[in-house]
C-alpha cells in the first residue's frame, strides 16, 4: 500500500493522500419488519437501500451521520463511535411495539475508509460514499491502515469532505456542515424536517462549510495550506 501511495503522489497532486485509514466507528445490526422504512422515517435522506443519511433532533441538530447497508434480511448502520449511545437512545425509543431488534457488532468489526476503490476479500463489506469507500469487516481480515490522520485531513480539506468530530458535530445542522446533499427535499416527514425545509425555502441556511487559505482561527480541520471552516 505504501508503494501505491508514493506512486500516486508523484503523478497526481489532486489525489495526494490516497490510502486507508481506520475510523472510530460503530456497527449496529437491525433486524425486523420494514427496517428501511423505520430508518427513513427518522432521518434526512431517502432510505430505500444503500445510502448515507443523517439522524437529527427535532431542532434539526445532528445526532449522527450514518451509512445504511442492507445485507440480506438485516441492515447494518455504521456511524461514529462517540455518538453511538445517542443513536441507540434515539432508535430504541422509537421501536415502540415494532418487531425490531438491534444488535451491536462494533467489537467484532473494524470500520475503515479508503480514498480509492480497492479489491478486497468477500468478508469485507465495501460501500462507496461521498467520503470515499467505507470498509467494514472482521478486524483480523481488514487491510492495514496506511494513511495518517494528517494525511486524511489533507485529503478532506482538498476535497471539502466533512467528518465527524470536526465539522459534523451535534451542535450543527446538516446544511451548515456540508451535508446538504444528504437532506432530501421531498421525501416527506422526518424528525427535524420542518426546520431544514424552512431554512431552504427561505434561503436562510446560515453557515456553510467552506475551504479557505490558511491561517483560519475558526478552522474545523487544518490542512497544509488550506483549512475547512464553517462560516456565514
Amino acid at each position: 500500500m505504501r508503494i501505491l501511495l508514493v506512486a500516486v503522489v508523484s503523478h497526481s497532486p489532486e489525489v495526494f493522500n490516497v490510502g486507508i485509514i481506520a475510523l472510530d466507528g460503530y456497527v449496529l445490526i437491525l433486524r425486523g419488519d420494514r427496517i428501511l422504512d423505520f430508518i427513513d422515517g427518522l432521518s434526512t435522506n431517502l432510505v430505500d437501500g444503500n445510502c448515507t443519511t443523517v439522524f437529527t433532533t427535532k431542532n434539526a441538530k445532528i445526532i449522527d451521520m450514518v451509512e445504511i447497508i442492507p445485507i440480506g434480511d438485516l441492515v447494518a448502520v455504521v456511524g461514529y463511535g462517540p455518538y453511538k449511545d445517542q443513536i441507540l437512545s434515539h432508535l430504541t425509543a422509537k421501536v415502540l411495539g415494532s418487531k425490531i431488534t438491534i444488535g451491536d457488532a462494533s467489537d467484532s468489526n473494524q470500520v475503515m475508509l479508503s480514498t480509492e476503490d480497492i479489491n478486497l476479500g468477500t468478508s469485507i463489506t465495501k460501500v462507496k460514499t461521498f467520503r470515499g469507500w467505507l470498509l467494514i469487516g472482521p478486524k483480523d481480515k481488514c487491510p492495514k491502515e496506511n494513511l495518517t490522520k494528517e494525511q486524511f485531513d489533507e485529503y478532506r480539506v482538498n476535497n471539502i469532505i466533512p467528518h465527524q468530530g470536526h465539522e459534523i458535530t451535534q451542535n450543527v445542522h446538516p446544511l451548515s456542515c456540508g451535508l446538504g446533499h444528504l437532506v432530501h427535499e421531498n421525501k416527506g416527514c422526518y424528525i427535524g424536517q420542518e426546520i431544514l425545509a424552512r431554512m431552504r425555502s427561505r434561503g436562510r441556511q446560515g453557515k456553510r462549510l467552506i475551504r479557505i487559505e490558511n491561517p483560519a482561527e475558526d478552522a474545523t480541520t487544518i490542512g497544509e495550506t488550506h483549512s475547512l471552516v464553517i462560516r456565514k
Binding site: 427518522l42 441507540l88 415502540l96 431488534t101 416527514c189 424528525i191
Partner: protein, 126 residues
C-alpha cells in the same frame, strides 16, 4: 462484513416502557363522527396507536379494525370499543380524541397532555 459476526452481535436491550392503564376522553364531535362511521355495528373498534416518524418523532395511527394482533387494552367509551396498544400506552394516557373541521376536510385530532411539542400539521408529536 462477515455475516457470522452479524449473527453473534450482542443484542441491545430495548427498554419496554411501563404499561399504563390509559385514561381517555372523547369530545361530542368525535363521538358523533364515530357513530356516523360505525353505524349500529359495534363489532369494530377504533385502534389508537403511535408510530415512530413524523417531524417530531411520533405519529398517531388511527385505524378502524375488527381485531388486531397487537397486545392492546380495550376501553369502552360511550359504547365504542377503543383499542390502545400496550407498547404505546405511556404516550397516550390522558389523551382527548377530538374531531375538527378544516378547509381541506375534517379529521380526528388527538389532544395529548404528554406531548412536549407537535409539528405544524398536528399529526406528529414528541
Amino acid at each position: 462484513m462477515d455475516c457470522n459476526t452479524c449473527d453473534s452481535a450482542p443484542a441491545i436491550t430495548i427498554n419496554v416502557p411501563e404499561v399504563v392503564q390509559v385514561d381517555l376522553t372523547m369530545t361530542v364531535k368525535a363521538n358523533e363522527m364515530l357513530a356516523s362511521a360505525f353505524g349500529d355495528d359495534r363489532s369494530h373498534a377504533l385502534l389508537v396507536g403511535v408510530l415512530s416518524g413524523g417531524c417530531s418523532g411520533y405519529m398517531y395511527d388511527l385505524q378502524i379494525v375488527e381485531s388486531t394482533d397487537q397486545d392492546c387494552q380495550e376501553l369502552d367509551i360511550d359504547g365504542f370499543r377503543i383499542l390502545i396498544p400496550n407498547a404505546t400506552s405511556h404516550l397516550l394516557d390522558g389523551i382527548e380524541i377530538d374531531y375538527v373541521e378544516k378547509m381541506m376536510g375534517g379529521g380526528f385530532k388527538i389532544n395529548n397532555p404528554n406531548a412536549d411539542s407537535s409539528c405544524g400539521c398536528g399529526e406528529s408529536f414528541s
